[in-house]
């Protein structure tokens, strides 16, 4: 079992000839992922590490089953790439591209919902199910990826790609390991929030607990707290909220685009309070996370 991806998960990369895409395509292939095609307009007919490149998504979906796509095209082309994938029938869409205005992100996510597709991101790194499938650029070179992500019992959702790896590394070192890790993206409007994804972890028998990494800005933590209270989840949740220093600096923005304290709900203090009230354990430091998880799952 795993969340979203599985052993036979087949995906494509849109913007595969870009610098970053070349790197993570190689890394994914080395990790054992099944990338069955790439798309870059005008570069159809080429190959990238043995992966055929096409001009359009439909050329691939007409011939083969495509479970997902990783979009890493330049900013100005990102919405179009997402619409192309969704219209071609792809149901799992990861958008790595950074800097997409929230209006465009909102439109993409609405379009996806109308077509039964799911969007992860924008401004995320994707998904890893350790030793099963890597869908996106999370974790870096395959050798480093294997060091930080070992199979285990903890599901991870994080607004920061880098901190996804940091937390998974801590869980791996502690021996708890990771069931599925999802970098959900750091923008104010993202396709899948903690509350959207937690039911998938709930249904995943490998997952015994969930760790979330959060930052100032937005309502995702309040929404997760509400979900937890309303659904009597079987999963203990441990949360870490970064950027507490920002509570003293209203209006300043650090880190991701979504990271700013303007409204009350944006503040780390408010997020921690809501999550604690919902029975979520809030870790003071990253290093405390494995211990809190163990305490909660009685291991």
């Amino acid at each position: 079992m795993a969340v979203i991806v599985h052993e036979d998960f087949q995906f494509i990369v849109q913007g595969i000839t870009g610098r970053e895409a070349l790197n993570f395509t190689r890394e994914c292939l080395q990790y054992g992922s099944k990338i069955i095609g790439g798309v870059t307009p005008g570069k159809g007919g080429r190959e990238v590490y043995g992966v055929p490149v096409y001009d359009t998504v439909r050329e691939i979906t007409q011939k083969q089953r495509v479970d997902g796509t990783v979009i890493t095209v330049p900013l100005a082309f990102a919405p179009d790439a997402a619409y192309e994938a969704i219209d071609a029938g792809i149901k799992e869409v990861i958008i790595i591209t950074e800097g997409i205005p929230r209006k465009d992100a909102s439109a993409i996510v609405e379009y996806a919902a109308l077509h039964g597709a799911r969007v992860i991101g924008p401004n995320c790194l994707g998904i890893i199910v350790p030793d099963v499938c890597r869908f996106g650029s999370l974790g870096g070179p395959a050798v480093d990826c294997r060091k930080a992500f070992k199979p285990g019992v903890v599901g991870v959702m994080s607004r920061s790609g880098g901190m996804t790896t940091e937390i998974c590394n801590a869980l791996t070192l502690s021996g708890l390991g990771v069931s599925t890790a999802i970098s959900i993206g750091g923008d104010p409007v993202i396709g899948s929030t903690y509350a959207d994804l937690i039911p998938l972890f709930e249904a995943d028998e490998d997952t015994k607990a969930v760790v979330v990494y959060s930052e100032p800005g937005g309502t995702a933590e309040a929404e997760l707290a509400r979900w937890t209270q309303e659904h009597h989840s079987r999963l203990p949740i441990v949360a870490f909220v970064a950027g507490r220093f920002m509570d003293e600096m209203p209006g300043m923005s650090f880190g991701h685009a979504g990271t700013v304290v303007n409204k009350k709900v944006d503040s780390p203090a408010d997020k921690m309070r809501r999550m604690r009230e919902a029975g979520i354990s809030v870790a003071e430091e990253i290093g405390d996370i494995p211990g809190l998880v163990r305490a909660r799952i009685g291991n």
Binding site: S106, T165, A242
Partner: protein, 397 residues
């Protein structure tokens, strides 16, 4: 990116939203003149960006003479190191009824949303005190805005007759300009129904989506926005400007945002979320960060070198902590080389200046080798972020 209120009002005016009589002035004398023209009591609003000035930036004046002195006081305000961008002098009509409107994006539904209340104020605050007095409607950023959504919202405010149609026009107009100009937030904190039955907007707050500033350049030009004006809550310091320059001059990797604090521990840290976590960790262990930085996206040796020199040259900073989350794309060896180079160029020994070097992940073996050569201990992934921060704080004393 925050608009000054006079700019927001220019946008509203252009799109036919009815506004209260209002004029921007730059001198107390002009304020007096405008107040005379308006006749009766006026309200004066200093045009400022910094938070925490909400109360200090607004004054009422019963007559032109007191408008003049109020304007003089407002123009002397310190807006995070800037002068106010003038003062708005406005009529203050008393109305039969007052409303507020708020447009934003709802992260839960991922849709734009408009909230309305039959009370004045910020919807964010009214939500705490009078949640029952707020109505909401989501709309679409994918499809064009349809007037009936505004009509339904007006209806749920219990409006009827001409009030309903007038409010519908205002809400529709605002929704369309909210979408058109890539606003992230638009708050009409006071919308009044005048004695003649017409509505007029009194107070506006508007924020531009920062990521849309390039494609909204024509609108920003029209409002007179300088190209590099990001409307930070305070004026950037020399240190911050130099950091931004270093970042802009080399497209490889990202070291921003960079911010200056008043502590003594220089931070060469990354990346987005890692920097937030590390800054907290240093403070938690009693350390005082001298700055905020964010090394990400695989910066070049040169970029790391220049950042190191910048941080180490800051007055009051004797040593730096080089720390990051486990890196995936950023190469630890390039960071190590840049940091060493920066320190040696300043004439110091790396071992004397580096409190800790904790950058595990991609190319970590090479980073360890480089640091060993200079007698600097390399902390690998078994040293947690908290532990690294603790050691750095302990060493700086």
């Amino acid at each position: 990116m925050r608009f000054y209120e006079f700019e927001a009002k220019q946008l509203l005016k252009k799109h036919g939203i009815p506004l209260v009589q209002s004029e921007l002035v730059e001198t107390p004398k002009k304020a007096k003149k405008v107040a005379t023209n308006i006749g009766g009591p006026v309200i004066l609003k200093a045009q400022v960006i910094a938070p925490g000035l909400a109360a200090a930036s607004v004054k009422e004046a019963a007559d032109p003479a007191s408008a003049k002195s109020a304007a003089a006081e407002l123009l002397a305000l310190d807006d995070g190191g800037r002068k106010p961008k003038g003062v708005l002098v406005e009529a203050r009509p008393t109305g039969d009824a007052v409303y507020s409107l708020s447009f934003t994006y709802d992260g839960t539904t991922k849709l734009p949303v408009v909230a309305a209340s039959d009370m004045a104020g910020k919807i964010d605050d009214l939500g705490d005190t009078h949640p029952e007095r707020i109505v909401r409607r989501h709309f679409s950023a994918l499809y064009p805005f349809s007037d009936y959504i505004a009509k339904e919202l007006a209806k749920s405010l219990s409006l009827g007759g001409a009030d309903l149609t007038r409010m519908t026009r205002i809400v529709s107009g605002l929704a369309r300009l909210f979408l058109k100009y890539d606003l992230a937030d638009l708050d009409i904190t006071s919308l009044v129904k005048l004695g003649d039955g017409n509505f007029a907007v009194l107070d506006v707050e508007a924020d531009l989506e920062i990521e849309a500033r390039h494609r909204q350049r024509p609108m920003l030009e029209e409002l007179g926005f300088a190209k590099d004006d990001l409307r930070q809550v305070r004026e950037p310091t020399e240190f911050e400007l130099e950091g931004a320059r270093i970042d802009a001059e080399d497209p490889r990797g990202i070291i921003s945002p960079i911010a200056e604090f008043d502590g003594n521990i220089g931070l060469v840290i990354g990346a987005g979320g890692g920097s937030l976590t590390l800054t907290d960790a240093v403070r938690k262990h009693g350390g005082r960060p001298a700055n905020y930085a964010a090394i990400g996206g695989n910066p070049s040796v040169d970029k790391a070198r220049r950042l190191t020199k910048l941080v180490l040259s800051k007055p009051g900073v004797d040593k730096i902590a080089v720390m990051s989350n486990v890196v995936s794309n950023t190469r630890a060896d390039l960071v190590a080389r840049g940091v060493i180079k920066g320190i040696t160029e300043l004439g110091f020994k790396p071992a004397d200046k580096i409190l800790i070097f904790r950058v595990p992940g991609a190319w970590e073996a090479d980073a360890a080798k480089i640091l060993q050569k200079y007698g600097v201990e390399y902390c690998d992934r078994t040293v947690s972020i908290s532990e690294a921060a603790r050691r750095a704080v302990e060493k700086v004393g």
